[in-house]
């Protein structure tokens, strides 16, 4: 009997697929029902875009050999609105996010999984654009999407599309990069300008629309990390990408994990004039705003110059800067010497950042 396979994974066996109506078609419940429509979607959209030998194994799982050593694994879900924004979309973001989480251990990202939750009514054209963008981002980052899954929820129960990606990567020998290794005297570096992603998204939000030339900084950081590891590997204590909560949250996390304080120097923190302006306008602090293509590095003081020079040679690190140092502080505070020479504490963001009233 030729029953459709009750399997929504991308590896469902090869068969003769029909065409998808990309111009006018929309996701409907049949695309998640396990029947022919789902198989067509998987074949013509996902497998075509992510095309690789491991995905073509057509089993319920991807199977691969590993070299000896340390593997890292990470997962992240993406529920962003709007789905498309200047500088990227939910697809590229879903690849960059997980690739970067792996890279923050100094690892070389190898394989990704991709889980899609689609809302009934999502135009197939949008889905194709997102999937193509994911495939491009994965190719550029040198990772393979080797397994996947798709589900469809009824209209009103999703926000167009949610994507989950998980990934594995391999850590080169001799590295020990972790959030608890910052020590007093270490230098704090950032790979570039802060707040670009958050403000690009915020400028498109309902009720806040304002014109800017801002683009999200969404990018894969594994090539930058590769250079950094080559230049200063064992001297690198901590790497972390300051996504939600921005620089403020990330440094507070590291300070708590490492049991140290930190001192930043406001004039040294790179922030674009447009981001600064938009933040001033809305009464927001750029240090709390999300980034998707930046990293913070904490490094032994003696290796800071070498590391900075290496970072600046990479396109993702050309605006890199030393912004402060790790200090001894029983309160584990992140402090900042302000532009006028005063000092303040940089705390976690409380609740949501809200535009001021007047």
């Amino acid at each position: 009997m030729d029953l459709p396979r009750e399997n929504s994974s991308f590896q469902a066996g090869r068969r003769q697929a029909r065409k998808l109506d990309l111009a006018n078609g929309r996701v409907d419940l049949s695309h998640g029902a396990g029947g022919r429509a789902m198989a067509d979607l998987i074949d013509l959209m996902f497998r075509k875009a992510f095309d690789n030998a491991l995905l073509d194994q057509a089993n319920d799982q991807a199977s691969f050999d590993v070299e000896a050593g340390r593997l890292v694994m990470s997962t992240d879900s993406f529920v962003i609105s709007p789905l498309f924004f200047p500088g990227g979309d939910i697809g590229s973001l879903a690849v960059h996010g997980t690739v970067n989480d792996l890279a923050m251990a100094g690892a070389r990202p190898l394989y990704l999984s991709a889980g899609f939750i689609l809302e009934e009514g999502l135009p197939l054209q949008d889905l194709a654009r997102i999937v193509d963008s994911m495939a491009t981002a994965a190719r550029e980052a040198g990772v393979l999407v080797v397994t996947g899954d798709t589900k469809v929820v009824e209209r009103g129960k999703g926000d167009g599309i949610f994507i989950n990606t998980a990934g594995v990567g391999r850590v080169p020998a001799g590295l020990e990069i972790s959030g608890d290794r910052a020590r007093p005297g270490d230098k704090i570096l950032v790979s570039g300008t802060l707040g670009d992603h958050g403000m690009a998204i915020m400028s498109l939000r309902n009720g806040l629309q304002f014109e800017t030339a801002l683009r999200s900084d969404s990018a894969a950081l594994n090539s930058l990390v590769g250079r950094m590891v080559e230049a200063a590997g064992p001297a690198i204590r901590t790497l972390r990408d300051p996504t939600r909560g921005g620089l403020a949250a990330t440094l507070n996390e590291i300070a708590d994990q490492s049991g140290t304080g930190m001192r930043l120097h406001e004039p040294d923190i790179p922030i674009r004039a447009e981001v600064r302006g938009a933040c001033e306008l809305l009464g927001l602090d750029p240090l709390n705003v999300a980034n998707e293509g930046k990293l913070i590095a904490i490094v032994e003081a003696g290796a800071a110059d070498t590391l900075l020079a290496a970072m600046r040679r990479d396109p993702q690190g050309c605006d890199a800067a030393v912004i402060g140092e790790v200090i001894d502080d029983p309160l584990h505070l992140v402090r900042m010497v302000t532009g006028i020479g005063g000092e303040r504490v940089i705390d976690w963001l409380h609740g949501e950042q809200l535009p001021r009233i007047c």
Binding site: I340, E352, C358
Partner: protein, 391 residues
Amino acid sequence: MKYVEEFRDGERARGMARALQVEARPDRRYRLMEFCGGHTHAVFRHGIPDLLPPNIELIHGPGCPVCVLPIGRLDMAIRLVDEHPEVILASYGDMLRVPGGRRRSLLQARSDGADVRMVYSVSDALALARANPDRQVVFFGIGFETTTPPTALGIQEARRTGLDNFSVFCNHVLTPAAMSAILDVAPDSGDSVEVDGFIGPSHVSVIIGSDAYRFCARKYHKPVVIAGFEPLDVLQSIVMLVRQLNEGRAEIENQYTRAVTPGGNSKAQQVVQEVFTLRPSFEWRGLGEIPRSALQITHAYREFDAEHRFNMRYEPVAGTRGCECPAVLRGAKKPTDCKLFATACSPESPLGSCMVSDEGACAAYFTYGRFREQALVQQARQRAQQKAKRA
């Protein structure tokens, strides 16, 4: 960035700090109130107190719109959405988190099923009314003179376009009346705040003009220097106040000349006059009933007055026990003088309004962390005292 970076220049700031060290006389104190919450925020964000000699003390005033609204007025809004399912309440974000009577906030009312939306301006509220013709959209209008003209224009636009499902719950208040109230407290009442001079508001003054503060000099002999929101603006206004006080002058000076004129924005004032009229009296959190200190919608625009449309009634509500917001708003106490500060009350779970808004003194103290240093100093002092005792 033009018009911002110039006013954050470190070299100039250090120059002004040196000037203050020279000009501030060591034999006296300078107690300067920054009226406006925007200034309180700027003071801590830029670490301005670190640049001041110890005898210049900044006292934080009541100029935070969310902070001064009494619980009773907030409860009116909460009752409105509880009792009228047809109402969409459109409010600035900060207002949603302030705990009302029995600590219930608009956010909690929303999770209980009320339709409360966060908006960024009155225009958003008008758009909501247009998009929901079968609902009643009520704009929760709060704020000092800065936010009043946009509310007035919103009401006029609603009339012009026949938007009859739009109304405003008006809570707009007046800066000069609050300054008088602070200065009127009798020195021996135990409630008084010793203020030598005011750092005058930035945006409010753009609307009302510098002449609006003349009464401070004339009636109370207190100098006022209107200042911009950038750190150099604030530092320069402090230098100007110190000079006035040293010379025994009490004048209204304008540091923020790039935006403020003596007469203010007459067009904005006219719109406000057309739509609003003075309330005989209004309750302020911390300052109590102040005569002629707030606005209500005039008879001519009464159909847009939510208080009239929904027959809303004010009932005063007692404040949260232990909460020192009232004294903090008068400048009589510092946030760290409150027992609830950073213990039961924090920005995540605020008990008082001053912990909610960024412009509130408690939130500024908490966010920019000055209290932690003070707590350490205090601990060190206690340890030293105990050591001395043991010795």
